[in-house]
Symmetry: C2
Subunit: 340 residues, 2 copies
């Protein structure tokens, strides 16, 4: 038996479980997963999977199942890959801190299969000698009552967040190594050279349609018919394109039109809108906050995106309070601040 890669996946929900199953299917890895909420259930009975890629599987388990990242590191395993498939909410949990127990400096490749933009930055600061990969997954999969329903094929693009201190060759090699342990004849996982370009391309949708729908409580169709698309989202898209350009990324001339028409025919509710509806915190900071940080550094004006961001921060405050993450006194405290 050949030496296997030690792989840890954190966040085994709808998407993460299919990624984990794909890696297990390839068979080159000793696979561990961290399952927080459903730990006991999964430890006992494994996963039931109903997958458009892999068919119906009952009671699937990886090699190891842990309730926490700390537990996954307790035996001293040095992981070759740590894959993160959690929601990305740095204003609640900083992923670079969460994974720390499982990361061996200079060895572990960290794979961020998460939404958001400029995700490498906090990892470069904390793990300057580790490769940070970008995985953009197009998959439809959700966990309902312990069964994973994968309804859309697993198609993912893997590349790397360009580290200021590592060679391109090393980073590209690690990206391809990851693809080798994950890609199989059932899924579709390919190398895509330019993570930055791709993440900007996604932002043209996510920083604009996703955010305005979240704020106004509509789907992208109603956003169009109410006039909000043209009055707010399109100007916001132009701001994203301008930031990309200032950052050296040239998006296609027709990108705005392509993004708008990508939902043609569907009254589609984007992810942030769904999160607000369900009362879940939104991935505001990694989608819009990080973009505005870069825009500020590059001196690009983003008047529309800035107002949308500041309004959504209030929404996020409300969502966090509803989840018990913020506690306010019964009586409103009076501030003596003088406003001008």
């Amino acid at each position: 038996m050949s030496a296997k890669y030690n792989v840890l996946l954190i966040g085994a929900g709808g998407v993460g479980t299919i990624v984990a199953f794909g890696i297990d299917y390839v068979g080159k890895s000793s696979l561990s997963i961290v399952v927080r909420r459903d730990y006991t259930k999964v430890k006992d009975a494994g996963y039931n999977i109903d997958s458009v890629d892999y068919g119906k599987i009952e009671g699937w388990k990886p090699d190891n199942i842990y309730p926490t990242v700390e537990a996954s590191a307790a035996k001293g395993t040095e992981y070759d890959f740590v894959i993160i498939t959690t929601k990305n909410l740095p204003d609640i949990v900083k992923v670079e801190e969460l994974v720390e127990p499982a990361v061996t400096p200079g060895k572990t490749t960290i794979v961020l299969m998460q939404n958001g933009f400029d995700l490498g930055r906090p990892f470069f600061a904390k793990y300057p000698k580790n490769v940070i990969l970008s995985g953009v997954s197009h998959i439809g999969s959700h966990n309902s009552n312990g069964t994973i329903h994968q309804t859309q094929k697993d198609k993912s693009l893997v590349s790397y967040f360009e580290s200021p201190s590592l060679s391109k060759e090393l980073q590209e090699a690690k990206a391809k190594e990851f693809i080798a342990i994950y890609a199989n004849e059932k899924n579709n996982c390919t190398y895509f050279a330019d993570a930055k370009w791709y993440r900007y391309r996604k932002l043209v949708y996510n920083a604009t349609l996703n955010t305005t729908c979240a704020l106004t409580g509509v789907d992208t169709g109603r956003l169009e018919f109410s006039g909000g698309l043209e009055a707010v989202s399109i100007p916001a898209m132009r701001e994203v394109v301008a930031v990309a350009k200032a950052d050296g990324v040239e998006l296609p001339d027709d990108v705005i039109n392509a993004v708008v028409h990508s939902d043609d025919g569907d009254w589609f509710e984007p992810s942030m809108r769904v999160d607000v509806k369900k009362g879940n915190p939104i991935e505001l900071e990694v989608i819009l906050g990080n973009l505005l940080k870069v825009a500020g550094e590059l001196g690009v004006e983003t008047p529309v995106l800035t107002v949308v961001y500041n309004l959504l921060k209030v929404v996020q405050f409300r969502l966090k309070e509803n989840q018990g993450l913020i506690n306010l006194p019964k009586e409103r405290p009076i501030t003596d601040k003088v406003y001008k």
Copy 2:
């Protein structure tokens, strides 16, 4: 018996009924009211009123009760005053058209006891020879199950929207005439010379705190503690102050601070926020739409207010759809528009 004024009040809900009762209490008018939704009930049993100003009254009725404005005009009565106390939603019902059957050109004084800004404009266009009064009411009163509960004293300021074609003397005289048929020892109704100044002063709150709370789903306390007050509402207030200034209205230096601290100690939910929560259409056009029209005419930049307005238009679309005022097909129509 001396000749009485013919007075019609449209919109006898929580506020309107107390205004009507006050006019009846003074006794100088033959009072008619238009009650749409509760017509049969009010016609049969009158109003039960539990009032901080007037005490408990059972089965109060004015001289005439009509189900529609048309009905109120059917006998050919020439009204001296038509008082409008409805919600102000010109994107659903244009008040200047609604009242037309009851208005005698050159005779009827129209009293707008409604929220909003620059409300005179459509009336001047349609009724150039009629005086249009502004009534700003500070009252807490609501209608629950046919009983009017007035919890805050009726304090109102009456003046006139300055008509381009009528003398100031006439307009001021009509304002004072209206006060004479309404003010009594139980309420507090006074003349206030400058309707424009006063409406701008109210906008510093209503165009900013009211709107951002409506968009984000919080009260003014949470708006402050989440950072939205300083990031969005205060810059928006500065825009209101700038429009006022360009329009010849100098608001006090400390107006922003006074407005913010007006809710001190309360987790207060402004009216638009309450409307969104209840699923009722919001008074967006008369509060923010009219202000932005004036800002545009005066060439004042309003980048924050404009984004807030355009987002709230989407919310209004959703609220109208939920009330059956907008109907969309089951399948989203595909537009062939090219977006850039």
